[in-house]
Structures are given as C-alpha cells and as structure tokens.
C-alpha cells in the first residue's frame, strides 16, 4: 500500500442525484408503458375474442398494473440497476442453474421422442409436455434463486459493504428482484425458443412440409396461429414467474431457507387451484364438500382464495389444445393483476427488510 499515492477526490457531499440522462430514459420507458397500457386497455375492452369468466372485460382497476410497472421503472436508480446486473451475473454463473437449463433444453428438443406415450394425440402431448416442462423448470429457478437473493448476502456479509454505500434498502431489494426477473426472462426466452423450434420442426414433419404446416383449414389453424398462441402462453408464464420471484423473496425474509421453499411450493399449488377454492367457498365445487361446510369455514376458504395468487390465470394450456385464441383483454388482466400482486409482496418484503439488523 503506497502511502504517498494521492488520488483524486471523487466523492462529494450532498444527496445523490439521479443523472438527467437516466431520468429521461426512465421517462421515455414510462411513457411507452403508459401508451401500451392505454392501447391494451382500449383493445382489451373491445376485444372480439370470447373469454371465460373474469377476463370478459377489463376494468379500470386492471390499469393499476400499468401504474405499478411505471413505478418500478421510476424507482430503478443506477444503483438498483447495478445490483440487478450483479445479481443476474451471479445467477447465471451458478452451476446448478446451468445444469438445469441444459437438462431442460435436452428434454425439450427430444420431446418428440416421448410422444409414443400418447399415440394419436402427439401434437397435444408436445404442447402439454413442453409448456408443462417450462413451467416446472422456470418455477424451480424462481423459487430457488428467489429464496437465495438476500439471505446469502447476509450470511456472507456482502450486505455490510453494499449498505454502507449510498444505496438505500428499497433500492437494494428492487435491484435484487429485478436481477432475478432478468435471469428468469433470459432462461424463459432460451427455453421458449428451443420449444417453439422443436414444435415447428415436429409440425413440418407431421404435415409433410413447411407449406402444408402453414395452411389454414377447418381443424387445422395453421402453424403461424399455433406458434403465436404458444408465444402468448409463454409470455403469460413470465407473469407467473414475476409473482413467484416476489413470493420467494418475501418468504426468504420471513422464514428459514427450507421453510421458505416449502411454503412457496404450497402457495404455488394453492394458487394453481385457486378456481377450486373459489367454487368451494361458494358451494359449487361439484364435490362432496359442497354441502358439509359451515358458513365460517366457507368464509375462511374465501379468505384464502382472496389472498392466494391467481396462478390459474397464467395457465392457458386448455385453451391452446382446443386452438382457442388468447385475447388482449386476458393478457392485460393477467399481467396487470400479477404486477399488482408482485408489488404488494415487494412492499411487504421492504417492511420486513427495512429495519432488519445485520
């Protein structure tokens, strides 16, 4: 350590100011989101696609998701972006992540091999298998990376040097969360591309040619429509992953590592069956329980249904196999509610984290 070396003073006093260029970029992004929100709001409202139940129209409340997204963009300071990038770099260098990704890619590429298990409906099988596999793999990534976002920083004490820098705790959490969202986006994109390619090749072979695969006639909506629908379904999967990431993050601040993972899985299964809880609370589940439940228990079940994330909204496999299109209103409503749910989880995370002592 050369004690004679003089260095230029870089650190000034006063509050940290966000560079003007950064703010302009944030403003442009927020404007784009707002315009898209207005467009989807209008398009969704007038969508000609008949949807099931809740997504038949878009209410004003659904626009809250757009505001939440704009809020996320505005709250992302350069420090949060730095933390997000560091989190992404760290995540993609995890060996188990890489192994999981390779395993998933191999399975997806070879999914046609397994079609012998469901002879006669190979197309349905590949769609079900591919989407289901992507759901499971990316969900595992979201949970295992999500619960490991903050606790290892505390255990390894890297948090001491980070929080002694001009980074407030909200920025720290947002940065970690966005880093995970970026990791999940990249992994989902890789898996989606591999799946769509595999499916396209399968269709070429099944229809004996590219031209034939693209043709549209009754009972054959054409490859273009199917790939579009699958892409929509995979985009919806990202909404689900954002909720799972926020959920895992929140649970990791509340519970031990193992407990957080277990509870995350329980909430996942609860969320996937949220429609059932709703029907059960109304006595319309169609099962033996419909008549035996007291009003108090029904109210409790309704409360659970209210609190649970609506993961079934993000699962559109049923619609895909029956070649039904997925409209704007459905996408808008699902994403919007997902963002609101994630924002609530992040606010709870911040409340848990803001006074945490290290």
């Amino acid at each position: 350590m050369n004690s004679t070396s003089e260095t230029a003073a870089l650190g000034g006093s006063g509050h940290i100011e966000i560079p003007a260029r950064w703010r302009v970029g944030q403003g442009i992004l927020c404007l784009i989101v707002a315009l898209l929100g207005v467009y989807f709001f209008a398009a969704g409202w007038h969508s000609g696609v008949g949807e099931t139940r809740l997504a038949d129209n878009v209410s004003l409340f659904d626009a809250v998701g757009v505001l939440v997204l704009m809020g996320f963009i505005w709250l992302t300071t350069p420090a949060a972006a730095t933390l997000a990038w560091a989190t992404f770099q760290e995540s993609v260098r995890r060996k188990w992540m890489f192994a999981l990704l390779i395993f998933a890619v191999v399975m997806l590429v070879n999914s046609t091999f397994f079609t012998w298990m469901q002879p006669g409906s190979q197309e349905k099988f590949i769609q079900d298998f591919g989407l289901g596999f992507i759901v499971i793999i990316t969900m595992l990534m979201a949970i295992f990376l999500g619960v490991a976002l903050v606790p290892p920083e505390i255990e390894r004490r890297t948090i001491l040097t980070i929080l002694s820098k001009p980074v407030d705790r909200a920025q720290f959490l947002i940065g970690k969360f966005l880093g995970l969202c970026l990791t999940l986006l990249v992994n989902l994109a890789i898996l989606s591309v591999m799946f769509l390619l595999t499916y396209a090749i399968f269709r070429f072979r099944l229809d004996h040619g590219i031209k034939e695969a693209l043709m549209v006639y009754p009972g054959h909506p054409g490859l273009k429509f199917e790939l579009g629908n699958l892409t929509t379904a995979l985009s919806l999967q990202y909404g689900f992953l954002i909720i799972m990431a926020a959920l895992a993050l929140m649970l990791s601040l509340l519970l031990s590592n193992i407990a957080a993972i277990v509870v995350a899985f329980l909430i996942y299964f609860g969320g996937q069956t949220s429609g059932y809880w709703e029907y059960l609370s109304q006595g319309r589940s169609g099962g033996a329980l419909d008549k035996g439940l007291s009003p108090a228990i029904r109210d409790t079940i309704h409360a659970i249904y209210f609190v649970l994330p609506r993961f079934d909204r993000f699962d559109v496999r049923e619609r895909l196999v029956s070649h039904m299109p997925i409209g704007f209103n459905y996408m808008f409503k699902s994403f919007s509610s997902g963002l609101v749910y994630a924002a609530v989880l992040l606010i709870i995370s911040y409340l848990l984290f803001s006074d945490r002592e290290f």
Binding site: N2, T7, G11, S13, R157, S164, E357
Partner: protein, 330 residues
C-alpha cells in the same frame, strides 16, 4: 474517563485536535438485543458518549463482545439504537448523503467471489454513480495504492489469500475518497509487511485531512497511530482520551553508565536504586523522575559517564488490561 491534560500534548497534536470540528457524536447511545420470542435481553451498549473530530485517527478498543462492532454497526446504520442519539455530519447514519462521504472496511470482508478485483471495485464505483471514465481512472489508482499486482487483478476473488481480500477491502472503502473511514480490524490476515503498509495507508489518510475510526485488537498498532482512544468494556465506555492521556508520562527510568567503581555501586544500592552490572556498563533503575535526578548526580559524583537514559511508561495494553480487570473482567 480521562479527558484532561491536553497541555501535555505536543503542539501539533493540540492544534489538530482544536481545529477539527466534531463530525461524529453519540449521546447516551444504547443498544439492547432481544432474542426472538423471548424476554431475554443483552445490553450490548449502554450510554455511550463519544465524539470523533475531523482529521483524527480514533481508536475503539475493547475485549471480545464489549460492544465495538455494535458501535460500528450503529454508526453505519446497519442496526438501530435502542435509545440515545447518533449523528454523522449532523445527519442520521442511514442517510444516503452520509454514505456518500464514508468508507467502510468490515472485519474479514467478503465480496462477490466470481468477480476479479477490478470488477469488484467497478461494482462499488457504480453504486456511487461514478461515470465509466471516473471508474477507469480511479480503479487502477486504488489497486496500485493497495499494491495488488496486474496479474492478481485479473484473478477472481475466490482464489485470493485473506490478505489480498483485505487489500481489496481497503480499496473498496477508499473508492469514494471518503471523509471518514471506518476500519474494523484492518490488519487481520495481513503479513507484517502488509500490516505495516496498512498502517502507513491509515496515516496517509490522516495526513490528507481524512478521519479514521479504527476498531482493533492490536493495541500496539492503536497506540502507534491513533490520536484518541475509547476503551469499551461490557458495553460501557471506561476510558476515553488521547493516547498520551491514557498512557501517561514515563514512570520508570534506566540510566546506562560506565566508569563507576564498586564503592559507587554500593552507594547506589544503599540509596535504593536497582543496579545491574554488565560487561562494560552498569544500569541504574530509577522508579520516578526525582530518583532519576539523584541517579544522574550519583554517576557524575562518582566520576562516571552517563551513556544513555531510557524512560518507560505503561503501554496501552497495560492500561487496557488494568482497566478491563478493574471493570470486572479478566
């Protein structure tokens, strides 16, 4: 608490202490830890009153579990006080504007170990909002400052020795050229040369007008470089003052003399001096400043020559052990 006797301090030291305004102050600062789901409490810190002035090296010493690290964490806003007040630059410790002006090297620092030293510093530089140009200028300077070779800079942190990690830790603490530097056991894991360089770096920070708050177990280091020291025991401040105030003036003296005959030595023994006879000189031990005068006179009267006089005072370690023992520990 000893906060007197500034008149005995050297002129430079006095000037520095009177010029530097108080930039860190605690008033009755207390921290009580409560075990979750239990009524059990631990008083980690009780009514701590200290102040740190601009431009000084302030030492915080105490036995394990005495509350040093708790104090440091309170000052950095990593934990919240149970009661009392704490200000840095007249602001709360969690204010990001305060963080802009401080640097922190934790005890046994740990960084993202998949990054190399330059990447780690780049990461911290970005957290301060430095531009790429500023980071490209600043980072090599800092790595030169902590003597990390060009080759080592390109290796990932997980391959570093403890001492090298400590050097990176110092570099990241200095990345914003902080006005106040918090160092927790900075010489841990360093070899003697590294420890010496670390001490030089700390002193150079003071020479540049920077303030350093140092937590260390190595009391000889603290005594050598600190201007003021606070000794904490069982969460309470038990001594606080300049090193000179704590250690006090020399208390015993050794007079090295030659040319003294046996009769003179006998007189010295009878006068109450401890006498040690070596091959070509003798040593007279005087237990006070008054006895030192008598010893010098005795040598001169006996026709001998005084070769050397050495004064001995308590070390900070002596003061520390005595203080902690009298406080009920050890």
């Amino acid at each position: 608490m000893e906060q007197t006797a500034t008149k005995t301090a050297p002129v430079e030291e006095t000037a520095r202490r009177t010029l530097g305004e108080v930039i860190i102050e605690t008033k009755n600062l207390s921290k009580v830890y409560r075990a979750p789901f239990s009524r059990e409490t631990k008083h980690a810190l009780t009514d701590l009153n200290i102040n740190v002035r601009r431009g000084e090296i302030f030492g915080l010493v105490g036995p394990n579990g005495s509350g040093k690290t708790t104090t440091l964490k309170l000052l950095l806003g990593l934990i919240k006080p149970t009661s009392g007040e704490l200000t840095i630059f007249d602001q709360g410790p969690r204010d990001v504007a305060v963080k802009q002006r401080i640097g922190f090297l934790p005890d046994g620092p740990y960084f993202y170990d998949h990054l190399n030293a330059s990447e780690v510093l780049d990461f911290y530089g970005k957290l301060f909002g430095f531009t790429e140009k500023e980071r490209k200028e600043r980072i090599p300077e800092l790595l030169d400052l902590v003597n990390l070779s060009e080759q080592d800079r390109k290796r990932v942190i997980r391959t570093y020795s403890k001492g090298m990690v400590q050097r990176v830790g110092l570099a990241q603490a200095l990345i914003n050229d902080p006005e106040v530097l918090f160092l927790d056991e900075p010489t841990t894991g360093l070899d003697p040369i590294g420890a010496r360089q670390m001490k030089d770096s700390i002193l150079s920070q003071r020479d540049r007008g920077r303030t350093v708050l140092l937590c260390s177990h190595l009391l000889s280091d603290v005594q050598a470089i600190c201007d003021r020291v606070a000794i904490i025991s069982e969460g309470k401040l038990v001594k606080f003052g300049t090193v000179r105030e704590l250690v006090g003036p020399s208390q015993t003296f050794e007079v090295f003399a030659e040319g003294m005959n046996d009769a003179a030595l006998q007189t010295a023994r009878e006068s109450g001096f401890g006498v040690e006879v070596a091959d070509d000189h003798v040593i007279l031990n005087a237990a006070s400043a008054d006895l030192l005068d008598q010893a010098l006179k005795l040598v001169r009267d006996a026709g001998g020559n005084v070769i050397d006089v050495k004064g001995h005072s308590e070390t900070l370690e002596d003061v520390f052990v005595r203080t902690v023992k009298s406080d009920g520990r050890g």
